[in-house]
């Protein structure tokens, strides 16, 4: 079996986010990066599937040179090799990103393509579904359990409000993996050592022949304003209670 895991590098969770001079993106001068956490769960699921079924696991990631650090981490955890689609700046549009990833993945002819259900930075939550469409594979999103069954796979999906569903699909497939379903492994020292010898193939995004430019334009990025007018209640607890009761009675008509 061949497994592909699409992994994104994102600014660390505790990064101080500053808007760039154009007001349309992030100032990346002081940013530190980490593997997008949902993708770390996809990688873990793929590593466990590979341990069960055998085969090869290839990590694909898109972005500037800093992405190498995230790729090395995936290789140290047990991925066999990697493809780095290099761009100075990743597109800010889900479809443009997916077109590049799909181009690189298609030539690998995988059985399973796994990715996280969304990214912690842009949060479009579309990469997996778009890859499935562009590669012509069936897919399932927000997957909790993966049961391979020969040339098909049965998965447990999370629906809303505490509902779940099993779905069976023929391989090859794209799955987006729910976060938190398995414990993430750490890279061992041996793993880190071995990773240094593993192949990272670099493709230039500009040389991948993908259809069309980014279909969206970012007009501006800004700090959210307070959307509601907060009325702060003052006084002692009794006075606060009194004001709330007035509101409940005459405004909300809830009592």
């Amino acid at each position: 079996m061949k497994f592909i895991v699409s992994v994104k590098q994102v600014p660390s969770r505790d990064s101080a986010l500053k808007i760039d001079g154009n007001g349309t993106g992030l100032d990346d001068s002081d940013l530190t990066y980490e593997m997008n956490e949902p993708d770390a769960y996809a990688l873990e699921e793929a590593l466990q599937l590979k341990e069960k079924l055998g085969g090869e696991l290839v990590v694909v990631s898109l972005g500037p040179a800093t992405v190498t650090q995230t790729i090395r981490e995936a290789l140290a955890k047990g991925a066999d090799r990697a493809i780095h689609i290099q761009t100075e700046r990743a597109p800010s549009d889900a479809l443009a990103i997916a077109r590049l990833l799909a181009k690189a993945i298609a030539s690998e002819a995988p059985d399973f393509v796994l990715t996280g259900l969304q990214s912690d930075d842009l949060g479009f939550g579309q990469t997996g579904v778009l890859l499935a469409e562009l590669l012509g594979f069936p897919h399932a999103t927000i997957v909790m359990e993966v049961e391979p069954q020969g040339d098909s796979v049965r998965v447990k999906r999370e629906l809303e409000d505490g509902w779940f569903q099993h779905v069976t699909m023929p391989l090859p497939v794209v799955l987006t993996i729910q976060s938190g379903i398995k414990r993430l492994r750490y890279a061992t020292l041996m793993g880190i050592k071995k990773a240094k010898a593993k192949e990272i193939r670099v493709l230039q995004a500009s040389e991948l022949d993908t259809a069309g430019a980014s279909p969206t334009e970012t007009v501006r990025v800004y700090l959210p304003e307070r959307s509601k007018q907060l009325q702060l209640l003052s006084g002692d607890p009794k006075q606060i209670a009194h004001q709330l009761v007035e509101m409940l009675r005459f405004e909300a008509r809830a009592i």
Partner: protein, 321 residues
């Protein structure tokens, strides 16, 4: 020029977010033109008529045995044929788990972008606002060629209200073949029986980490009782097992839209705020004046919940007496 809004139903009921998406469409009527709805399913009957009461100019019904159960292939193909015919400039989905599962696919078939999880629309510039970094930043985008798809976040728009008279309903012929549907879904199931429907509550008293100990829940239970309200909680309270999971509000719990939502000792993480945005009035009681919950609240009391909540319970009892 037109807008197509995709409605969603489950177990014989419309998902309220369908009509929030419709509101987003109606808000853009001046720039994008007529607003149509679409219902997908098999033998929808009354459900389709009901959908037509909410203000769409017309509701298309895509009826086929192969879309009786949701599959990404079935729904994408059905919707693709309608969109190909109607050629809307804007397609709007509610940002549900189901839409997330197939809306990007449909958009990609037309080579169009899907701006997902939109929290605001601006008709004048035809721009859409969405959040980055889980709500730490906002970004405003537009379609490069003026047309595309969006999905709207739960609670970002107030759901359209049904009128007394049904509107126009138009069946749209879909041809589907079983071989086009690659995934075989089984019946949805629940692992824990849920008996509480917080969505039906007019008033909700919700409690967070600020309550400190399970024994202290009594304070909010008494407030809920005095108000005739449902008791709810943020995730940590349910993770601790202090209240059952079925009372959890937020992205991994229930989405609620009561008249009044009391957030007691809840700091207001984005995952919680997503679940309460549809509330008409939010009252926050928290000792930390910088808690993000105050940014979403209409009324705020900064102070000790163990003093304010009992005082409030007392005043409500008096007012009701």
């Amino acid at each position: 020029m037109s807008v197509l809004v995709v409605f969603e139903h489950r177990a014989g009921k419309w998902n309220r977010m369908s009509f929030e998406a419709l509101t987003a469409g109606l808000n853009l009527r001046d720039v994008f033109g007529d607003v149509y709805g679409v219902a997908i399913g098999h033998n929808l009957g009354e459900l389709a008529t009901e959908a037509s009461r909410y203000g769409a100019q017309k509701v298309f019904v895509l009826d086929h045995a192969l879309v009786a159960d949701y599959t990404p292939d079935g729904y994408s193909l059905a919707l693709e044929s309608l969109i190909g015919q109607v050629e809307p400039d804007l397609v709007i989905f509610p940002h549900t788990y189901q839409a997330r599962d197939y809306a990007p696919k449909v958009a990609a078939r037309f080579g169009k972008p899907l701006v997902s999880d939109v929290i605001g629309v601006n008709g004048n510039d035809k721009t859409f606002v969405r959040q980055l970094f889980q709500g730490k930043l906002n970004s405003e985008l537009k379609f490069a060629d003026g047309s595309g798809f969006i999905s709207v976040q739960a609670g970002a728009f107030r759901a359209a209200e049904p009128g007394a008279q049904p509107g126009a309903v138009e069946p749209f012929e879909v041809s589907l073949d079983g071989s086009q549907i690659r995934s075989k879904p089984e019946a949805p199931f629940r692992e824990a029986q849920r008996s509480v429907d917080l969505n039906a509550a007019d008033v909700i008293v919700s409690v967070g980490r600020g309550i400190k100990e399970k024994e202290n829940l009594k304070v909010v239970e008494e407030l809920a009782e005095a108000l005739g309200a449902e008791l709810a909680a943020s995730r940590p309270i349910c993770d601790n097992g202090w209240l059952p999971m079925e009372r959890q509000v937020g992205s991994s719990g229930q989405t609620v839209s009561p008249k009044v939502y009391f957030a007691v000792g809840i700091s207001g993480a984005i995952q919680h705020l997503v679940g309460i945005k549809g509330s008409k009035t939010i009252v926050a009681i928290n000792k930390d004046e910088n808690a993000p919950i105050f940014e979403s609240a209409d009324y705020g009391a900064v102070g000790d919940l163990f003093e304010i909540v009992p005082a409030l319970t007392e005043e409500i009892k008096k007012a009701k007496a």
